[in-house]
């Protein structure tokens, strides 16, 4: 059991905004524009971030970017812990067949969620490419997966947890590193 926990803000609201603006530009650059592009946020942390990235891209290009929401829970490799939260409806009401899709999540860790999300996404069609954008990469990869776009790399210890607070859900933007959390919990988001 952790004896005490210690919190430290590693990104404030402005830093989050700048990081996402940069990622939005990188997505545009890499894809040579927005032709056919769509963003799919992973439940639940990835959805507001996908919306913000889409808004940032639209602000630059003046073109609408479709945003979907995907719950990869039914594709995970850990049935027991996956079922701890209800399955959310996936909403991808646009065609992904033959088009580039950027998966978006808040924190990348083990890579297992992303593996599941790719399998889930492919059930909706065969994208021409799947790219990955995350606000934070905290390391601890257990699968050969990497992000194409990273807001900030945050090397963490296994007893540290990252908490992403967003305006849409929590009323403010902040990323907090919490020390003294057991590995089991810290591993929750991947």
């Amino acid at each position: 059991m952790p004896e005490e926990t210690e919190q430290r803000e590693i990104l404030d609201a402005n830093e989050i905004r700048r990081a996402l603006t940069r990622v939005a530009h990188q997505i545009l650059e890499r894809n040579h524009g927005v032709e056919g592009l769509s963003l799919v946020g992973i439940h639940s942390g990835g959805i507001p971030i996908a919306r913000r990235l889409a808004a940032a891209i639209e602000a630059v290009e003046g073109t609408f970017i479709p945003v979907g929401a995907l719950d990869p829970r039914l594709y995970r490799d850990d049935l027991r812990s996956a079922a701890a939260q209800p399955v959310q409806p996936t909403e991808i009401d646009f065609d992904v067949e033959g088009r580039p899709v950027v998966l978006v999540d808040d924190v990348l860790a083990t890579g297992r969620t992303i593996r599941a999300a790719m399998d889930a996404l492919i059930d909706f069609g065969r994208p021409s490419s799947i790219q990955l954008a995350v606000l934070l990469d905290r390391g601890h990869r257990e699968l050969p997966i990497r992000a194409d776009y990273v807001g900030k790399n945050v090397p963490t210890a296994s007893d540290e947890q990252i908490k992403v607070l967003l305006q849409e859900e929590d009323g403010r933007d902040s990323v907090v590193l919490i020390r003294g959390v057991e590995r089991k919990q810290a591993n929750g988001s991947a």
Partner: protein
């Protein structure tokens, strides 16, 4: 094992509707007393809704939302229960329930094996216990079971490591039907709490009515029942906290948000419980005129199969307010949610 063959009368007396006291049912039986309750740590069977708390029911309904979306996809297949084996063991005829469970299991990626009593060793005289032991030795994860004897799934749950889902036992319970009814009401009306629900027909012998009574009560609905006096559990009159007993069809339907019609089991007529079908239709049937007494937009439900022209008129059964086909479609989503939840809970390796 014929735990509650005189079920209706006995069981509603035995059981207080307080969800947290669901264990009472079990303790009076002496059979399933050792079983832990449902969803709490160690809960792993779905036998009836009187064992489920509101939170547990809501967990199933929320998962069913996600499952319903899966059913709307072009590729209706996920690997969630890959490597799990589900056996449906039906000792009674059924189309929709069995197919619904089979589809639910397959969409989740499980292997589903269907066993019907008439084509199994049961027809050679094998006992229920031996049948179960044989199936269990095949490493099954979930057993979905329908049996003509009330209480049979409770007996089986005591002798098997797999999760047991009651798909209808005698006149006792049909929990997944009640869950899909709750899901259908919630998805059309937004919530269940405070809604007036009329359940009309053979309340005494209906496992659908019984499970719905527990589920609706737990979710906070205001239930009125109506039916021929011979098919009404007498003790219900003394338990207004479970349901009001209406004196006429008009009274039952008046201002209802939901009118749930039950299938009249024609075999009851020969037992002297029923007047002629024509009289039944006149006094206990739902028609357009009576439906007008309900709230505008009230839902018309029926667990099927329907006797059109007897308990429900064809224009109502296929009218704008009928959600009977939704019930069938929702049944698959709800059973996916149940299978997923139970399989995850009994899952050791993954």
């Amino acid at each position: 094992m014929a735990r509650r063959s005189t079920s209706a009368v006995v069981s509603t007396q035995e059981r207080k509707p307080t969800p947290s006291k669901g264990r009472q049912v079990v303790s009076t039986s002496g059979v399933a007393a050792a079983r832990p309750g449902l969803w709490s740590e160690g809960k792993r069977h779905l036998l009836d809704l009187d064992e489920m708390s509101r939170t547990e029911i809501e967990e199933i309904l929320r998962n069913a939302d996600g499952m319903k979306e899966v059913l709307s996809r072009n590729v209706r297949k996920t690997p969630a229960l890959r490597g799990k084996t589900i056996i449906t063991l039906f000792f009674e005829n059924s189309t929709r329930t069995r197919v619904s469970f089979e589809q639910a299991g397959k969409v989740l990626g499980a292997d589903v094996i269907n066993v019907t009593a008439s084509s199994s060793s049961v027809s050679k005289g094998e006992s229920l216990l031996n049948t179960i032991r044989t199936l269990e030795s095949m490493q099954i994860d979930v057993l979905v079971m329908r049996h003509p004897h009330s209480g049979a799934p409770y007996f089986v749950a005591n002798h098997i490591d797999a999760a047991v889902i009651n798909a209808g036992d005698g006149t006792h319970a049909h929990p997944t039907q009640a869950l899909l009814d709750l899901f259908t009401i919630e998805s059309h009306l937004g919530s269940i709490a405070g809604k007036k629900v009329a359940i009309v027909g053979d309340i005494l012998y209906s496992r659908v009515a019984r499970s719905n009574l527990w589920g609706l009560k737990t979710m906070g609905a205001d239930v009125t029942v109506f039916g021929p006096p011979t098919l009404m559990p007498p003790e219900l009159r003394d338990q207004p906290d479970i349901a009001k007993v209406a004196g006429s069809m008009e009274e039952a339907v008046d201002q209802a948000d939901v009118v749930m019609m039950l299938r009249i089991q024609k075999e009851r007529q020969s037992a002297g419980h029923l007047p002629s079908m024509r009289e039944y239709s006149t006094r206990f049937g739902l028609n357009a005129k009576r439906l007008k007494l309900a709230r505008p937009g009230a839902l018309v439900m029926h667990p099927g199969p329907m006797n059109e022209g007897i308990e429900i008129s064809p224009d109502v059964a296929h009218g704008a307010q009928a959600v009977i086909e939704d019930q069938v479609a929702n049944g698959v989503a709800v059973r996916m949610a149940v299978l997923y939840t139970l399989a995850a809970r009994s899952s050791v390796g993954r």
